[in-house]
Symmetry: C2
Subunit: 191 residues, 2 copies
Amino acid sequence: MQKRRLGPCVTFFPQPTTIISTRSEAGEVNLMTASWAGIVSKTPPTMAVSLNQGRQTYENIRATGMFGVNGVPSSLVLEADLCGVRSGRDLDKLETCHLDVEEGSVLPVPLLQQSPLNVECRFDREIEIGDYRLILGEIVEIHAVEAAFDEDGTIDATVFDPLVYLGGVREYWSLGERCGVAYRDGLKLLE
Amino acid sequence: MQKRRLGPCVTFFPQPTTIISTRSEAGEVNLMTASWAGIVSKTPPTMAVSLNQGRQTYENIRATGMFGVNGVPSSLVLEADLCGVRSGRDLDKLETCHLDVEEGSVLPVPLLQQSPLNVECRFDREIEIGDYRLILGEIVEIHAVEAAFDEDGTIDATVFDPLVYLGGVREYWSLGERCGVAYRDGLKLLE
C-alpha cells in the first residue's frame, strides 16, 4: 500500500478521550481533557497520563498526590473539547459545562459524576520527557456504570458509548460495530 | 449515575489496537499485538508501549534498540488477535497471518506493510513497573496511507478504519460516526 511520510510528529490513533479530575492545594476542582492516557501495568494496576508541565492539572497532581481518570461518553463531546482547550486558571469548567464531581471511595479524589468509567489513581512517580511529564498512578479503584452489567456481570460496551479521539486528525468519533472477541477469535486462523 | 466498584484492575477503554514489529538479534521478524501504546510527548515526539518483560518483543527491542508501532485496520481483526495470544517463539506469525513487513525509512526496523499507519521508533529508555516494562521510543518517522489524503492534505479517517480495543471488556470495535472536531466544537459552549 502506497504511503506518505509525515516526518517525526504525533499523528497516532485511535486514542481514548478522558477527563482528568484533580483538586488544587486550596481545594478547587479542575478538569482537563487528555488523550495521552492508558494502562501501563497489571502488577500493580497502573495508569499513565502525559501532560504539559505547565498545566494546572500537573500542579494539582503534584500538590495532592492523586488524580481521577474519567472516560467520556460521546454525549459529552462538546464539554470534553472545551475542557481540553481552556485552562482551569481562566475558566470554571465545571460550571460552564454543567458537570459535577463526586468523591472517590478509596482516595479523597474528585471523580466526574457524568462519566460511566472512573479510575482513582494515587501518584506513583513522574518521568520527564521534554516539556511533558508522564505521570504514573497506581489504580486503587475503578467505578463502572451499573446499567452496563447484565445478571452474569457481562458488560455492554454501548452503555459506556466511549468517545474515541483521533490524534493528528483532531476528530472525535463514536464506536461503530463489534468486530471481534479478544483472546478467542484469532485462534480461528490456526484451524 | 449508579456505579459498581470493580476494585484495582485494568478495565479501561477505548484503546488502540496496534501491532509492534521488531527483529531479533539473529534477524527474525516478530509481531506482537499491544493496546497499551500511545503518544507521551511532542517534544521530542515520543511513543510509549508497555509490555511484559518475558515477551520476545521486549528482548528484541533491547537487542536492536528500535521498534515499529503499526495501526491495525478492522479488516485485520483476526490477525491482530492471534498476534496477541501466541508467542513468536512458538509460531511464525507472519506466515500464519499472511502478513508482510517492509523496511523503515530512517531506521532498519520492520514495519507492517498491511498497516495504514506505521510509526518508526528508536529506543529511548525503559521504566520498570512490576512485571511490565514501559518502553519509551523517540518517533523518527510516521508513514500514513496515501489514499487517505485529499488534495489539500486533509485526512479521511475512514480509510484507516482503525480497530478500537476495549480492555477489560475484551472486545474489538470499529469506528462509528464522527461526533466532533477538536479544538473547535467545544468553544460553542462559550457562546
